[in-house]
Subunit: 371 residues, 4 copies
């Protein structure tokens, strides 16, 4: 496998995260060639050049189409705002480039469908940046499920909460506008859904309520303006016939900083996880000795690959950004023909469909099927 040529569009937080991953993946894993950081695109040329220098890219442009057209670019990291994903990803795929696009796919379901179609047609790698699934603890959970350690799963709960919208007196912003999406459902729900998909499968039907903790916000001109979307969503769902579940997302939950709290109940045990403590998980095994049963707090360790590629000792902890390095290694592995863990555009589309079914259910007041 030769060195792959990388193009990066967008250099906000996720763009930086991609850049750090492309830079580190070779040193961390050792078994893949170092990527070549070929081309970086930003909104204006000066910024593009500054960021290319900071992140170690060779060329800089203010025209992302040029980047895609660059023959030295083999794969394009798309990390721009959601509304640009569809056009950029499809253009890249049609130009024969691989694509690594941040989630969610697109605000409109039709755009997400076009992306998936373009990916299928192109035959290129088209992966989404759902890096929570790359956490070694999440893979350990998947392993426990596969090994039947907690038996047949019958119930699951997942919550995602942060507090960046919790201040009701913070002024009205683009985040409160309907055009940016449903609110917490787009911002947050896709993450828990990516975990559910990886661990248990996609919801087959959903029932959703949404709420506005602050129906109005200051408009910045002394008045108040009605908020158009919802900071809170509460969802009942089923996965197939056997699993009942609930999903709650809230971006206005004071005190929650990066919470994704997962509870999985099976016929022989249970599993708990909270993203705010991403280096640990809890496991309850019903067949532990009587009087000695309890949830075990398991810290990330070399026994949970690929933690061992980062640190040879247990309990030292990976960071959120390092999950992106693992995801990057999956991308490179996929290109080598390995069977790696990634959410491609087709699987991403299933997540988007669930989100839109939730929104429909809120309107209809009844259960909706996820197509």
């Amino acid at each position: 496998m030769d060195r792959i040529g990388v193009g990066l569009i967008g250099t906000g937080y996720m763009g930086k995260c991609h850049a750090l991953a492309w830079n580190a993946v070779r040193s961390v894993f050792g078994d893949v060639p170092a990527p070549r950081l070929v081309h970086l695109a930003e909104a204006d040329q000066a910024l593009a050049e500054r960021q290319a220098s900071a992140f170690g890219f060779e060329k800089a442009t203010d025209d992302w189409r040029k980047l895609i057209a660059d023959p030295e670019v083999d794969i394009v990291s798309v990390t721009t705002p959601n509304r640009f994903h569809a056009e950029m990803a499809i253009t890249a795929l049609e130009a024969g480039k691989h694509v690594w696009c941040e989630k969610p796919m697109a605000p409109a379901l039709a755009d997400a469908e076009r992306m998936a179609e373009a990916a299928r047609r192109s035959g290129r790698l088209a992966a989404l940046g759902y890096n929570y699934i790359q956490n070694p603890m999440m893979r350990q959970i998947a392993k426990l499920l596969k090994e039947d350690r907690i038996g047949t799963v019958n119930h699951v709960r997942i919550e995602m909460d942060e507090d960046f919208m919790a201040d009701g007196e913070a002024p009205y912003s683009w985040r409160n506008e309907k055009t940016t999406g449903y609110g917490a459902l787009d911002d947050f729900a896709v993450h828990p859904l990516s975990l559910l998909q990886t661990l248990l499968g996609n919801p087959s039907r959903v029932m959703c309520d949404m709420a506005r903790p602050y129906p109005e916000r200051p408009d910045g001109k002394g008045g108040r303006k009605a908020v158009e979307n919802h900071d809170v969503a509460n969802v009942l769902f089923r996965i197939g016939d056997g699993i009942s579940g609930t999903l709650q997302v809230n971006r206005a939950a004071w005190g929650r900083k990066g919470r994704i709290a997962l509870q999985i109940y099976g016929s022989k045990g249970s599993i708990l996880y909270d993203q705010e403590r991403l280096n640990e998980m809890q496991l309850y095994l019903a067949d532990d000795k009587a009087g000695e049963q309890g949830f075990r707090t398991i810290f990330a360790a070399p026994q949970h690959p690929p933690y061992d590629k980062f640190i040879p000792a247990p309990g030292h902890g990976l960071g959120f950004n390092e999950l992106k390095i693992i995801e990057c290694r999956q991308i490179l592995g996929k290109l080598k023909g390995e069977d790696t863990l990634l959410i491609d555009f087709d699987h991403g589309l299933a997540i988007e469909r669930a989100v839109h079914a939730m929104a429909r259910s809120f309107e209809s007041g009844k259960w909706e099927r996820v197509e």
Copy 2:
């Protein structure tokens, strides 16, 4: 206030709990006369006499009507299985006795309504044994809400989970029969609802899903038998216009022993509580200094009355049974004319109505109003 004469019907766990409370209330609080433990009723005379001796009651009977008729009995503790509550409580109220009845009121809504009506007609004290609300930490939460410490509440989540039904190979029992009720909804949901009522108000509308982790169980004769009710219930609800909420109850959740996990989100902060650690709560205040914000773990202390009546030092912990002593003191206070915290039959009826609305919603697949 003279010494009150107590009759106790039923001596299972809750009966014992009542007996312990009647025995201890005077010594713990000091400001009420010692109750007289007059009469105890059980299913057969020998057992009644044994228990009367164990719990310090003067007389024993196998006929609960005799106990109610006993002129020395002023108040009747009803701690028998749910299906007997209505007849016993109504008989006692009609005989002019006060009643302290364990929750829930009755499997059938019509019976609960008759109980509430009898209570109203009688003018006697008719209280339900919802002792979770008596926890000093729960009162501290109520105080924080009243003092507007976390601002206007806009979202609440409450979960109740245990694992006594989690073994799918445990044989079919009366608990799996429809005649005993909906399952987790009767067994568990009433407790969270009692906390919600006390802290925030009753749900106005509900949307409910129910599930059977184990659709069949061994019938004890080598075959399997279909389970008739549900060990899991998941509920979306609203309290008035302003609060969205969720309720999950699961009596088949491996590893959960006595969990009632509460999350309350307001405009200025948040509150967390878990019954498995009943002597602590967590508080997040948004106006704490930047960089120093976090959930505080607050241990029960003399600042949280009536903890101080039990222990003069903080952090030493009350037990679950001791909450019943506090409830008992509320009963005696009410009889003295104090304004005490109790869920009377009318307020209990609101809880039962919410449960039945949930069951209706599960059938209809849509939102149902709580009348």
Copy 3:
């Protein structure tokens, strides 16, 4: 076994605790006769009568010698300040009464020795109120050790911390006087030592440092007064040849409310416990499956006797005061000839000797043997 006649001297917090225990022990356990609460002594007659009424004692006196002389009194609960223990306990033992005395035995080692001698001579039950050892979780720990679940113990750490002396501007009080003892060493160290003795054995040698967080305190007259004893003690110790250990006690540790944190390390696992969460313990077993190892949080449950005598369901929690009821049952069991868990005066003397050895070590600056 007939009903035992109880005398209670002292009605502060521990006196109330004894009274509650004597009142409840029969109802909780069922297998012992109800004690007769015969006689109560307090400093003045009016108080004695009030408390006798509150706690259900038949007679009241302001002369504790009369109580001891009362032929209806079989056992005397001594719950007065430490400096009175020796005289009262010895008088009672010499009068042929059983004694249940609160810890520690006495400020002066010579007095503790006289108490132990009197107990041996009398042949009566002479037990100390070390109720932390009665916690079902502590018994579970003892069971795990006995069953070799964590192998041979090689290291132990124990800390006891509260914050009632943490305010350096709180005025000088009797607690700061040398005549009341060494400070944290008497107040606190005896508790961890009682746990060590029960679980692992007595320290054989000790090395101690003591410290004064606040060398002076306001004297209440506008000046400041030098503090005479120490709020902090730090101790290295050995138990026999095989176990190294540390003990820290601090009664000026802000934020600590009732902490007794225990860590026990063995050749096959580890055990953790914290008194602030007295209904749980943690267990690590080295032979759990690789990748699944972690400390288990075990909640108190009916599998941990005598929790089952209080509550038939796991995870509901006992209170600190209820440990005294368990201790009371041990007393009654001992009198019936059962082999119960109690720290008698001889074993209590070993604890006091360790404390005094610690104080000597602080003076000498080197290791001291515990005789």
Copy 4:
């Protein structure tokens, strides 16, 4: 400031950690030029070349002296086993190179002293790899102390525990040999001491006990061999006149994975920290409102620089390896003349002196001064 030329000696875990940091520092922080990874040295040429390729270094050698002599190398990362540190660091300093050396300095105090002397003479930057102090949470603790948020510190406890030596049947290895040092004291104690130095100051006197959980281990030939050093050390210490403290280190503590548990008690509050959860700390403020006091769990956030350089949102978590990137930025900052946080050879020497005083105290059985 020009691009600095980096030489790396040693490519074990710490070598990899340095390489990752040198690679990432520019992209993460943006305000320093990208280092040039010039030269890498390993024990044999083939390995050196493999690692140079993996970590992105231009040249590879099996002769570390050549690397030091390379005029393109400005700074040398020394990450070899401890016994090589002195010779390599001194050679580099004498060649006019800056040095970034992993801790501890050297097994023999005399060697550490020679290193410090060489650093003073050279006038070059000579920093040690104590990266735990770089954790944003640790800097937040330092800030809280500086701002007097918990008042005057009077007591501190620190524990460091792992379990890689906890299996007593693991065969005898070089780690059990006296020539490699005292055992847990060298392996572990230097880390807590680096935190103490940064936050509170160096111990002025110490009293130490050491223990061998497993006095013998299998020799791999069917027999057993006596262990020469100690897996456990327990220490009493004082910092100046005002602070009493304890230190415990144990590399045979089952269940502990990367624990460094810190407790700091002051006159107005307390601080807790545990390295196993490196993205959080706990703070207790005595002047919080009565009834609302408790330890706050504070998650790492952009308010805790330089967390913000990695992630713009709170609660997402840094990894252990990322602390090395922060340390690397300190190195580069120092070279730019910034006042950065680093433990240089002089301050490192103070840590080594404390360790050796502890070992002396264990021999003497009494307090020893740290020179």
